[in-house]
């Protein structure tokens, strides 16, 4: 499959290209300001939608675009909007700007560098499905994004683009900005809703609490990702079909990926969705420009820390949701982490597991107890106290969180955070078992991996005993 998709392109300048939809203003010094945005065509889509299109027409364009949600699950946005029960009001739009997975930083840049585009998208969405109130939830640590969004929102209000009777029409929407308080779990949509309501950020059970029927304040709610909504001005201006045509057969539009790790030029890149391959992204000069020191890729995480890891045999797969799903992982939120051949896989595995253990909300048993236990076993192995049976134990504990260790993961937990911690273990231990065994036998890494000090301790040691 990958061969067919990539056959038309060869590296060295020959990568598929497309228009910059999302990142067009990123290079501009004033792209984030109201003047800069309007000068470059900003808010024309909003006027077009409000004055020349019915809400249903806007919704139809979004459906025609076949845009998959960019938050992680990749569910078609137009279809999601259709889940709202008819005639139940008030209904809300919640914008998930709580991007917090390691290596994920595309939404932050969208909010920092083009806040008006997001605001325009929000109002278009509200118009399409009839919400009069939107809540923009931004991760607490994103100070610049908060500052720029607040300024942008004030400017938009001042110019009658948000608020009462927008652009002189009888359509009104208010947008409320909310800052998070530093919990990764709040990126999960139901936990985000809890947090918005002023509760602890803990996920709700689905069913019965599907946001489209019982969401914010138990009202129908659509939770959309920042990137998803930032695409709407283009879709309205150019039409859904033209958006769709930018991507591959099963992935429409342009999409931005955040690449980090052992590449020469880590960064966020906007590429035609579904046709660009991982290899192109890593190696093309216009993207990452190759792996550092011309080393080989040992493994890479294709879609955020919760994804199963990919290896060199996956490099020619296209960045296409169905293809990556079928290969046993996911594109998720578009965060790609590259690990070169000098990476200590045991340590890499521990670092990812530690993240999830620390970010577990504590609501359900398997995640609260299980992720921490996994982290402590790995930490023990890394510090030279591993036992032979620990590798089986890692799988046994993982099994209690994610029965069958299947992909897509099954879960005994409320939300997918628990199974997320299982992915790195299933990936690393299966593929690099000898590295773990070496640690267990010799108390240190195999030869040839780079030494990175464990400056931060285990999640157990990191907290004080009360």
């Amino acid at each position: 499959m990958s061969d067919n998709t990539t056959a038309n392109y060869s590296l060295g300048g020959q990568v598929p290209t497309g228009p910059k939809i999302l990142t067009s203003r990123w290079e501009s010094a004033d792209g984030h300001t109201y003047d800069g945005y309007v000068r470059t065509g900003g808010y024309t889509a909003l006027r077009k939608a409000l004055t020349t299109m019915s809400p249903a027409q806007v919704h139809d364009e979004v459906k025609a675009s076949e845009m998959q949600g960019r938050g992680g699950a990749g569910f078609p946005a137009g279809t999601k909007w259709g889940f709202l029960p008819a005639d139940v009001h008030p209904r809300y739009l919640v914008i998930n700007g709580d991007e917090s997975e390691p290596g994920t930083y595309k939404d932050r840049l969208l909010m920092e560098k083009d806040p008006h585009q997001l605001i325009e998208g929000i109002i278009i969405a509200c118009y399409a499905f009839g919400a009069a109130q939107a809540f923009l939830y931004v991760r607490g640590e994103m100070a610049l994004a908060q500052e720029r969004l607040a300024q942008a929102l004030n400017d938009a209000y001042a110019n009658n683009l948000v608020g009462k009777r927008i652009c002189g029409t009888d359509f009104s929407v208010d947008i409320t900005l909310t800052w998070g308080a530093g919990a990764y779990i709040v990126g999960e949509e139901t936990a985000l809703i809890e947090s918005l309501e002023g509760e602890r950020g803990m996920p709700r059970l689905k069913p019965p609490f599907f946001p489209a029927s019982k969401g914010l304040y138990m009202q129908p709610t659509i939770v959309n990702n920042v990137e998803t909504l930032s695409n709407l001005p283009y879709i309205v201006n150019q039409g859904g079909t033209s958006f769709k045509d930018l991507g591959g057969a099963t992935s429409s539009g342009m999409r931005i990926f955040a690449v980090s790790g052992h590449v020469n030029k880590p960064g966020v890149f906007e590429v035609p969705n579904g046709i660009t391959t991982f290899r192109m992204l890593f190696e093309a000069p216009e993207y990452c420009g190759g792996v550092r020191s011309d080393r080989k890729v040992k493994a890479f995480i294709p879609g955020g820390a919760s994804a199963m890891w990919f290896f060199d045999e996956h490099l020619d797969l296209p960045l296409d949701k169905p293809t990556v799903d079928q290969a046993g992982s996911m594109l998720g939120s578009g965060a790609i982490v590259v690990m070169d051949e000098t990476t200590d896989m045991v340590k890499a595995c521990w670092r990812v597991v530690r993240f999830f253990a620390r970010e577990s909300c504590g609501k359900c048993t398997p995640c609260r107890e299980g992720t921490t236990w996994l982290e402590r076993i790995l930490h023990r192995i890394l510090t030279g106290n591993g036992r032979r049976e620990d590798l089986d134990l890692l799988f046994e504990v993982s099994e209690s969180i994610s029965p069958g260790l299947a992909w897509p993961p099954r879960q005994t937990t409320i939300c997918p955070l628990g199974p997320s911690a299982v992915s790195p273990i299933a990936s690393a231990v299966n593929r690099f078992r000898h590295e773990f065994e070496h640690y267990i036998e010799h108390g240190r890494a195999i030869a040839g991996v780079e030494y990175v000090p464990m400056h931060a301790g285990s999640s157990h040691g990191a907290h004080a005993h009360v």
Partner: protein, 781 residues
């Protein structure tokens, strides 16, 4: 087995039925619509292990222990059965290898950080985690890391200790505090593996219902001070009984070891308490065990009471009852059988004057109105509350009504002079000035929105004496006003002591009320006054009248568990056996008769009240026709009012309702002049913890009674020119006292509030029981 399942899935019901057909572990089962799968599985004989699920609280699906497999469109799906509603044709399996694997996995994870201190844990032996670790656990832990450590245990209130190491974070206590009690004073703090239950800084878990969290804790994380390290569960013997602390009549389980009461637990009665108890009812067993209990009869010798024998004391009582004018006060703290025996004795001796209430209740005609059960009240479309603060006086009724409002079944329309626990759950809380209730009620019920609300469905009036500093007439007039406006309304009478309704039904009430009895006594018209567990000096609203009455009566005969100020002036004091020491039945505010169980031997030589009546009757050659609880009950069943007990229903958990003859309210003239602008109208009400015997003699509770302060609206305080927290002189027609005044805007304008029988100044000193209302003047010292 699976073939059987498959064929049953195919079956389509041909008749309209009200149940849902499901299959649990291959067995066909009919489940109630709306039921959760976890309960349906249990009904079908497959118990699903659980920790966070509690049938009286919203499920949260947190512990993940109740995972089962349900047949879905894409094969079997693992679901949490506590959040999955049953559906027609559902096929659930609770014992497949993957379910077992998941349940064992969760249990191993729960035990990973759980300390293995079961041998010194109070919960050991009755611990759901311990039990389910044996029944559904993997048998062995592979966790070799160091467990979580916290300081253990920490007090989170005066009554409850928290051991965070044992806590499995099931959210039961925190949900109870928030959802059921409405006191969200405990919550999760931190997150992930460091998540812990805790209080907010400087805010203890001072809930009247904190003991319930100890009972529903599925591990030994929460323990109650009165029971810590007192017994092992397997050493406890228990019997089901009814709490008689107040008139709600919560079903309890009373537990003892080595003939000592050690613990009360709530028992789940659908009709009454849903398994909950208030802390006073749960922990006041300590007073039964108190060192201060009366253990032998006392007789007066000059200015002293000296120990005596039952034969001498009973003979003296019989002698006193033979001649002269006698009155009986009290009887509402005992059993129906106690009251019945004394009523028959009084009948035989021609004692006319009797009152089980101490002029702090309502005329007994209220019991003859069309009456509502607690269940009816908590399901009424509109609940009109003209009553004392139910959270303070009838705490579990408060929980039921709060639930009705919170779950949007009912709207509460409250009339009160001082904000109550129910105020914030009320649809409308109307401030009333004492003495003007009736006109306020009439005006409010005339409002269009109120009329509309009353027209939406059934109406229940919860009615009782809100203030001891005003005549009962005002409450009766307000009730009459409601019944005139809403003729179909049913009435739930709020009575103060545990068995007022039983005592009245048994015949301990009369046309002469306590005020009239004590007035006659004070005027020297009474020769003998029998106090059946009554302490007028502490409990009668007008302390001055009570003191004068007790002093003027030649023979005061007191049956009581403790020496009180009233009994101290008696000529004969007879030790009465207490709750848990005697068998019988009690009648709650609805008129529900349930059993009261003896669990321990009566203290010293103390006797049940009925035994004393039988003994005295024998000495006076009166044949009462009974000489045991059983024979008294046979005699009771022969009366119309207790006839429903005939089928033994009183021995069931839900009990049986008495057959109260219909009566109509007396006509009252409730007039109270408006008070002068310099005066404040006095409201005196009770709080849960006071100087009453059951609190005062329970070491764990005694410190919880708060000192009396005069609470006044801040605007009134500003008008008088007094700062909050200063001492003032409060002067009524009866007395003048010095008291600390506190600004409190939950008190209505023009009103001053004092607590009855609280430590500090005695509100009863200020009350003239014969006045329509009592006004006080507040001056700076």
């Amino acid at each position: 087995m699976s073939d059987v399942n498959d064929t049953e899935v195919q079956e389509t019901p041909v008749v309209v039925k009200t149940t849902l057909s499901i299959t649990v572990d291959g067995r066909a089962h009919e489940a109630e619509p709306g039921q959760l799968l976890i309960d349906a599985c249990e009904d079908a004989g497959s118990y699903v292990p659980r920790f966070c699920y509690h049938p009286r609280m919203e499920p949260v699906g947190m512990c993940r222990q109740c995972l089962v497999e349900v047949e879905g469109p894409r094969g079997p799906m693992m679901v949490v059965s506590c959040m999955t509603p049953v559906a027609e044709g559902q096929v659930a399996r609770t014992e497949t290898p993957s379910v077992k694997r998941a349940q064992e996995g969760v249990l191993e994870l729960l035990l990973a950080n759980h300390p293995l201190d079961c041998p010194v844990c109070d919960k050991g032996g009755e611990c759901p985690l311990q039990d389910q670790a044996f029944s559904h656990g993997p048998g062995e832990s592979r966790f070799v890391e160091e467990k979580r450590h916290y300081e253990k245990p920490i007090p989170i209130s005066d009554l409850v200790f928290l051991d965070r190491e044992r806590c499995i974070l099931c959210d039961r206590c925190t949900r109870f505090a928030d959802e059921v009690a409405g006191d969200p004073l405990i919550s999760f703090t931190q997150r992930g593996n460091n998540t812990q239950v805790n209080t907010f800084p400087d805010e203890p878990f001072a809930s009247y219902f904190s003991g319930n969290t100890v009972q529903i804790c599925p591990v030994g994380a929460l323990t109650a001070k009165p029971y810590r390290f007192k017994a092992r569960p397997w050493d406890l013997e228990q019997r089901e009984s009814t709490c008689t602390t107040c008139s709600v009549g919560c079903r309890t389980v009373i537990q003892s070891s080595r003939d000592e009461l050690l613990r009360y637990q709530g028992s789940d009665s659908d009709a009454v308490n849903w398994g909950w108890l208030c802390d006073k009812g749960r922990f006041n067993f300590e007073n039964v065990n108190s060192e201060d209990r009366l253990e032998q009869p006392l007789m007066r010798d000059g200015s002293n009471l000296v120990p005596s024998t039952w034969s001498q004391a009973s003979a003296a009582v019989a002698e006193a009852l033979k001649t002269g004018t006698t009155a009986i006060l009290g009887g509402a703290r005992g059993t129906n059988e106690d009251a019945f025996a004394w009523a028959r004795l009084a009948d035989a001796l021609g004692i006319q004057m009797r009152d089980p209430q101490l002029s702090d209740g309502l005329p007994t005609e209220v019991f003859g109105l069309p009456s509502a059960s607690i269940e009816e009240a908590a399901n009424a479309t509109t609940i009109i509350v003209i009553a004392p603060d139910l959270k303070e006086e009838l705490p579990v009724l408060y929980l039921r009504l709060r639930d009705a409002a919170e779950k949007r079944r009912s709207r509460i329309l409250e009339f009160t002079a001082v904000s109550t626990g129910l105020t914030k759950y009320s649809w409308k809380s109307v401030p009333t000035e004492p003495g003007l209730q009736a006109s306020t009620v009439r005006n409010t019920l005339g409002e269009a929105t109120v009329r509309e609300q009353l027209g939406k469905g059934n109406v229940v009036v919860v009615v009782g004496r809100a203030s001891l500093a005003e005549s009962a007439d005002h409450t009766v007039a307000a009730l009459s006003a409601v019944l005139a406006e809403v003729p179909g309304a049913k009435v739930l009478p709020v009575v103060r002591r545990g068995n007022v309704r039983g005592a009245v039904a048994a015949g301990l009430g009369s046309n002469t009320n306590a005020t009239e009895i004590l007035t006659a006594a004070a005027a020297g018209k009474l020769d003998t006054l029998v106090l059946l567990g009554a302490d007028p000096i502490a409990d009668f609203p007008d302390t001055d009248l009570a003191r004068r009455a007790i002093s003027a009566v030649r023979n005061v005969i007191s049956l009581d568990t403790f020496l009180t100020e009233s009994t101290a002036r008696a000529s004969v004091v007879l030790p009465a056996s207490a709750y848990g020491e005697k068998e019988g039945t009690t009648t709650n505010l609805e008129g529900r008769v349930t059993s009261v169980a003896q669990k321990v031997t009566a203290r010293g030589t103390s006797r049940a009240d009925w035994m004393v009546a039988v003994d005295i009757a024998r000495r006076l050659n009166v044949d009462l026709g009974f000489d045991s609880v059983e024979s008294i009950q046979r005699a009771m069943i022969a009366t119309t009012v207790f006839a429903p007990m005939a089928d033994g229903g009183a021995n069931t958990r839900e009990g049986v309702l008495i057959d109260q003859p219909a009566m109509s309210l007396p006509t009252v003239s409730a007039t109270a002049g408006t008070h002068s602008s310099y005066d404040l109208r006095l409201v005196v009400s009770r709080r849960m913890y006071d100087q009453g015997a059951s609190t005062a003699h329970s070491p764990s509770l005694v410190g919880l009674a708060q000192r009396n302060v005069l609470r006044v609206n801040s605007a009134d305080l500003a008008r008088i020119g007094v700062a909050s927290g200063t001492s003032v002189r409060a002067t009524s027609s009866k007395a003048s006292v010095s008291v600390t005044v506190e600004a409190d805007d939950s008190v209505g304008r023009g009103v001053a509030h004092l607590t009855f029988n609280a430590p500090g100044i005695n509100a009863g000193d200020l009350i003239d029981v014969n006045a329509s209302v009592n006004d006080i003047k507040v001056e700076t010292l």
